[in-house]
Symmetry: C3
Subunit: 127 residues, 3 copies
């Protein structure tokens, strides 16, 4: 029996915006794992995680279960994390409370659709 | 400490089709809130909510928890709501049972992908 | 009262990639039902289901509740099912354990965004 080969090299058009509006720990773990797998095979992949709505906790310092993993991803430039300012405001979270390195965008949904319009792939994180 | 500025004006290419196949009340509340926030900052935004599958309840009169909010959005032309006729048929719902102003499309998934092909952004509502 | 007509014929640009990362039985049933409805009205539709992450069980022989339906869909060429090799590896599943006819792709997310880049519509299966 032959196992299908694991292709290592992907083309340079590996660009994905991940829509993260979930506080579910399986989803938050999945996004971290997927970034590791993708950048392992495709170091040039452009990956962006947009956090809004129920996903906010992933971005909050000392509350995000994935904080060490997220900081490591950002430090190694494997992906960018952007959080929605409107979601922050609604939840009374200011920029000092964010996991270091996470950027703020005025509107998470607009950030996502802008990336789609620029030809990036779109993945809704969910299960 | 400086909070990132909340940008008010978005460009006129703010076009989104929302995929609503969830009966979850958090999701149904989220879509109503998001439409309010988006149109508050970008009055020219084109927003469409396509309801199908498990999302049907949002479209049903006297059953949708968000009925007043949905009617208000439709009356003020902030977004259109379209419900899948195949989902209605499967659930024995006819057009008289819909929240006033909600339109019927033959196939919700086709409606969504048609909007994608026309360059609209796509957001799956979920958490 | 007039019910909106159920349009039967769809144009030939009915191409959808379904993102299936859910083990939820309602979602797994929904995808099977939707493929039946779409291909009933649009026999030329091109449909692909990409299975990864928590969705893996749908692809596993004698474990997938939808196995008979999936086999029937594949046999009648109504849709293709592709499963992510990285997800299989992580779960110690090899190709002999798959529902017959399901294909393996090296990276499920890359498969999805490739289809998006080729102009296919994208639907995240979820509720």
């Amino acid at each position: 029996m032959l196992m299908s080969p694991f292709v290592q090299a992907q083309t340079s058009n590996y660009k994905v915006v991940f829509d993260m509006s979930s506080r579910d720990s399986i989803n938050q773990q999945a996004i971290v794992r997927e970034i590791g797998l993708i950048t392992g095979a495709s170091p040039d992949a452009k990956l962006e995680v947009v956090i809004y709505g129920q996903g906010l906790e992933l971005a909050i310092k000392n509350r995000s279960v994935q904080q060490p993993a997220v900081e490591k991803i950002i430090a190694s430039n494997k992906a960018t994390f952007k959080v929605c300012a409107m979601t922050m405001k609604r939840n009374n979270i200011d920029s000092t409370q964010l996991v270091p390195g996470i950027e703020i965008v005025p509107d998470g949904i607009y950030e996502i659709i802008s990336k789609q319009q620029a030809g990036w792939g779109y993945i809704k994180v969910g299960h």
